[in-house]
Amino acid sequence: MRLQSTLRRAWPVAGGLACFVAVTALLFGHSTPSMAGFFWVLIKGAFGDGYAISETLVKATPTLWCALAVAVPAQLGLISIGAEGQMYAGAIAGGAIAVFVPHLPAWAMIPTILVGGVAGGASWGAAAGWLKARFGMTEVVVTMLQNFIAIDILEYLIHGPWMAANSGNWPQSTEFPAAAVLPPIISGFRTHVGLFGAIGAAAILWFVARRTRWGLAVRVLTGNPRVAAQAGLSRSAYIVGIMALGGALAGLGGICEASAIQNRLESGFLQGYGLSGFLVSALAGHDFLLIVPLSVVMGAILTSADTLQLTAGLPASSSMILQGVLFASVVGWTSFVKSRR
């Protein structure tokens, strides 16, 4: 039954995709000899060979974590645009352990940095939740300001106290010890086990939302606040809790990326994932199952945009335009269909 509703949400997305193809062809079609050729470059860049598929999944992983971090608060009607800041917070907290306690026993290392990532992200999210619940501040504004704060803190750390001694003044932290690097799924490719973690988290969240009392409580709180109050549900507590959970997911995504891909903390290494994640979650209607394939689509766009830079000479900003056009056309199309029904 639930699967059916996931499918029902999927078909207007397909209509929007058609809009996207049309608009993109108009905008970028001239960069390759033929318009069909342009999309062929896109598809080949994202899925053409093992390396391309692996890169698509590499980019899908943080996107998926971020999308979950948006979808979780959205279950309570909260709009969090702070996934990127939460990712950085998680990467900073987890990275601190990898950088400053590098001699932890190997079996304890990865769990510890993951816990650090959860703690960093969750505290960042919980702070926004608390400001919302306690003072009634708008979560959109708070989470957005938090992004800038997290980014500046990272920049401060890697330009200052955490800068690696051997980096030649390049803004980056010391390399993580080998025990703190998440293993790849297939050796030789960069796709790492963080992807399985994210898919697992999506499945668990789907289950929790449908089948547990917490999921029910959230649905009651969003659907009928009066009943929720009579049942003794504290809206404030759920706001703080759900923002913390969202933050924790983003934090995990941040530390996974730092550990598996960068092996260190670097300047702006998560840039853009917050927005991509938000777009994915909104496109999926915050449906935990639909988010997974859409993250892969987003990963494909990000990867093929890199290819476009090399083959068609388009600048890096085209990926942002592609994302925006995709999002606008799907949102426009689905809302248009809904409003004319």
């Binding site: 959109v140 504004v141 800038f148 704060i149 401060y156 900003s317 335009i321 925006g324």
Partner: protein
């Protein structure tokens, strides 16, 4: 240097920093007063900055740049209008799509202009005044004056004209406005265009006058911060300048500390313009006695569910 001149210097540099922000805040107030939440102003500001700078370089006239910025801002803003008013999409979600397009397009079309320099507006001269005073007046640029005057004009429009009254009525309750024979869609479109024009000018003021250069993402979140600061103005354009000065003062203070070579990391200092609005907004939310004055029709748009 006496205390008086230092204070005047600081005030002027804060005002200079706050000018693009004032346009952004004022534009968002005008939109929200008619029931439009425009989260995309960050993107429109960037597009305005890029177009403004490009056209200043091409034409050599900064006023042409401001005009181009306004047109570019309004053009992108009307995409938001199409998404929310024609397609009836969720305003927040549509706004973020528009923001992404604006960020991408400004970078895409702005690339050839990175590193180009312009001289901006020629400073005004006051030969008949004493040198000190003339110096201060001369360092005031046309966009600073526009930035202070525009909110006053908008305030006059909203509170002293019949169209302003209808504009606000549409923001409070489109249904009631419709009963009174007002076409809400018309006013919402006007709000979207005015918002785009103003924030486009703000972006152009940033690149043409304040920075005199273009770089990717140069608004560094001003549009987003403005979105938060609107709550402090209580949706009244009259308070735009003082509220924008909060950001302006924080930014110019962190810049001047940096230039004095005090041993604080510039990255910690650049936290300041974001941390300050956050703290001020939290204090405002905590201690504000009166109702928030938020246009009533915005309240039911604050969530994802629609």
């Amino acid at each position: 240097m006496t205390l008086g001149t230092t204070a005047a210097d600081m005030l002027l540099s804060a005002l200079r920093s706050s000018t693009p922000m004032a346009f952004a805040i004022c534009s968002e107030i005008m939109a929200e007063r008619a029931g439009i939440v425009n989260i995309g102003i960050e993107g429109q500001m960037l597009v305005g900055a890029a177009a403004g700078f490009a056209f200043t370089v091409i034409s050599g006239n900064p006023w042409v740049g401001l005009l181009a910025g306004a047109v570019a801002g309004a053009a992108l803003s009307s995409l938001h209008g199409i998404l929310c008013l024609v397609c009836r999409a969720n305003q927040t979600v549509a706004g973020i799509a528009v923001m992404a397009i604006g960020v991408g397009c400004s970078s895409y079309f702005g690339t050839p202009y990175v590193g180009r320099r312009i001289s901006g507006f020629s400073p005004m001269s006051f030969p008949s005044l004493p040198a000190g005073l003339a110096g201060y007046l001369g360092s005031i640029s046309p966009t600073m004056i526009l930035g202070v005057v525009t909110p006053l004009v908008m305030c006059g429009f909203l509170y002293m004209t019949r169209w302003g009254l209808r504009w606000r009525a549409v923001g409070e309750s489109p249904a009631a406005a419709r009963v009174l024979g007002i076409n809400p869609t018309l006013y919402k479109w006007a709000a979207i265009l005015v918002c785009g024009l103003l924030v486009g000018i703000g972006g152009a003021a940033l690149s043409v006058d304040y920075a005199k250069g273009w770089s990717d993402g140069m608004t560094s979140g001003r549009g987003l911060v403005a979105l938060g600061l609107v709550a402090l103005t209580r949706w009244n354009p009259l308070l735009t300048t003082p509220v924008a000065m909060i950001f302006g003062a924080a930014e110019s203070l962190s810049l001047s500390i940096q230039s004095h070579g005090i041993g604080v990391s510039p990255y910690l200092l650049s936290l300041f313009p974001y941390l300050t609005p956050l703290v001020v907004l939290a204090l405002h939310a905590r201690f504000a006695k009166r109702r928030s004055q938020m246009p009533a029709s915005l309240a039911n748009m604050q969530t994802f569910g629609e």
